[in-house]
């Protein structure tokens, strides 16, 4: 469906997107994950033809954007980060304009009505866009991307700025759309991508650092080797006991968080499961184990992990880029 090859984009001396390649199959929902400023929006803007790449190619359905811009654009529905809405227009006027702009050949009002039904804005048709709430504006933005039912939908942070209820609604909607459309969506929220997408691409500093199925990625990321314990017992004796358990590489005291107990952070050897041993050993001493949880990797940690892995494998080219960025 879509094939991105060696995509690169320079802004002056800054490289926003650096040699990214990936492909998306028909009917797949692909998530772009990355911190703000990672190059997600730039990549999407290039795929949709809003920006040109400095190097590399994008082909949609075998057509290259530079050779057949109209053909490619007519296959794509795009919801940019900031929905492109004309505030002075009513929803109906706006969608009618986009319908004409996209040169869609269907039964106009039936089609607009159908799309509005899908995104849930039928009751807002007569309202001016400037009077709509953020959630409804986002839906109208989604509606304009959907008009004409393009094969490929590109959604840039579709749930940003919405309240939790709206987020769930929009996610459900996107998952539903995934049955008929190929979708690329970006997000900086790991759980969101996990909830919607089949496959994830992680971008950081313009570099593709991971490309995997959602399950595999979240598994490799959740295979954490750190445990956080909360134990009601004398620290001076608990610590050596913990260090004595086979599989524990390191044990650090974290001090008192909850009154009457102490917290510890354990680093566990790869493949070892020490939870049962800890429970039994502490039980023998009658030091109650009040809490045990795998230390959660935050998204920042994930990126750190992935990008550090990447950087270790990279060579001088990357340091040059760092320098250019520092300037």
């Amino acid at each position: 469906m879509i094939e991105v090859k060696n995509l690169t984009k320079h802004y002056g001396r800054k490289t926003a997107v650096n040699n990214i390649s990936f492909s998306v199959k028909d009917g797949e929902i692909l998530g772009f994950l990355g911190p703000n400023g990672a190059g997600k929006s730039t990549t999407m803007n290039i795929i949709t033809g809003y920006l040109s790449s400095s190097d590399g190619t994008v082909t949609v359905d075998g057509k290259e954007i530079l050779e057949d811009p109209k053909g490619v654009k007519s296959r794509i529905g795009y919801l940019p980060e900031q929905p492109p809405l004309y505030f002075e227009m009513t929803v109906k006027e706006y969608l009618s304009f986009i319908y004409d702009l996209k040169k869609i050949k269907r039964d106009k009002w039936a089609h607009i009505g159908e799309v509005c039904g899908l995104v849930g804005v039928e009751e807002m048709l007569g309202r001016r866009i400037k009077n709509l709430s953020k959630g409804y504006r986002q839906r109208v933005g989604l509606a304009q991307a959907l008009l004409g039912y393009p094969k490929l939908l590109i959604l840039d942070e579709p749930t940003v700025g919405l309240d939790p209820k709206q987020i769930i609604e929009i996610r459900d909607l996107i998952r539903g759309l995934g049955e008929k459309h190929t979708i690329i969506l970006s997000s900086h929220i790991l759980s969101e991508v996990k909830a919607i997408c089949d496959r994830v691409i992680v971008i950081s500093d313009g570099i593709l650092v991971a490309d995997d199925t959602t399950d595999a990625l979240s598994q490799s990321l959740s295979a954490t080797r750190q445990l956080r314990l909360r134990i009601d017992g004398p620290e001076a004796q608990v610590l050596p006991l913990l260090r004595g358990i086979s599989g524990v590489e390191k044990a650090e005291p974290l001090g008192e968080v909850e009154k009457g107990s102490r917290d510890y952070m354990l680093d566990v050897a790869e493949g070892a499961d020490v939870r049962r041993a800890i429970f039994r050993q502490l039980g023998k001493k009658d030091w109650p184990l009040i809490g045990l949880e795998p230390s959660q990797l935050s998204l920042e940690d994930v990126f750190l992990q992935l990008t550090q892995k990447e950087k270790a494998g990279e060579s001088a080219g990357d340091t040059q880029k760092e320098e250019a960025k520092a300037e």
Binding site: G49, L51, P84, L85
Partner: protein, 234 residues
């Protein structure tokens, strides 16, 4: 293209801009019609058309300032540029909408001709010639204004740029008398809007003058399209 034109037209009249432009145009043209024709008991609209030159120069930027700047500021250009529409038809669509509003303003001169013909018999060939001249001048200025508007996100800067162009066009004619260098004088004469326009008001319909305005129009439309294109490569 027509979708863009229709949207722009509705935008002109959803905001005060379209009304303000038309009101100012009608009011100023009305003043000169009263002073130059009615008060003089004359059916000659020369005064009206002569003074419309500078009025058009200063009113057109109001019409063109928002054309692209507003899109850039609200990032609605993302919808336009990712739609299966060519850059040329986008630029032409925008141009056409301003041209239509301008023509609506301009048409008031035909009404004046009509008013005059109730009481006497004005020279309609002259009125039509002048009408075409003013239309050509307006189209050229709209193209320039559209180009300036495509350069900036700020409507204020776009309008200021438009006014600066207007002042420049008036100034170069005033400056011509003090230039010594014959090449400079020739250059100024070559690009003078006023010379070309006043030939029409004097009753001379010269195709080379008409062609001049159309060329300016085409050149700046072309530049506007280049700006659209360049932005993608930025």
């Amino acid at each position: 293209m027509m979708a863009v034109t229709r949207r722009e037209l509705s935008a002109y009249f959803h905001s005060p801009v379209g009304y303000i432009f038309l009101a100012a145009f009608y009011a100023l043209a009305g003043v000169y019609f009263f002073l130059g024709a009615l008060l003089q008991n004359s059916a000659d609209l020369y005064q009206v058309f002569a003074s419309m030159f500078s009025i058009t120069l200063f009113l057109v930027p109001i019409l063109t300032m928002r054309l692209m700047s507003e899109e850039l500021r609200h990032k609605t250009d993302q919808a336009l540029l990712t739609a299966p529409v060519s850059l040329t038809s986008l630029a032409l669509g925008k141009f056409l909408s301003a041209a239509i509003v301008f023509t609506a303003g301009l048409s008031v001169t035909l009404v004046y001709g009509g008013v005059c013909s109730i009481y006497s018999s004005p020279d309609w060939r002259l009125i039509l010639g002048n009408f075409i001249a003013l239309l050509l001048l307006g189209l050229a200025l709209i193209a320039i204004g559209l180009f300036i508007s495509s350069l900036t996100e700020s409507q204020v800067i776009a309008a200021t740029g438009g006014f600066a162009t207007a002042i420049l066009l008036l100034l170069i004619d005033a400056m011509r008398s003090i230039f010594q260098n014959p090449y400079l004088v020739r250059l100024v004469t070559a690009i003078s809007f006023y010379d070309r326009y006043s030939a029409f008001t004097a009753g001379i319909f010269d195709f080379s003058n008409a062609f001049f305005f159309l060329s300016v129009c085409g050149a700046f439309l072309f530049l506007t399209i280049r700006v659209f294109d360049k932005r993608r490569w930025g």
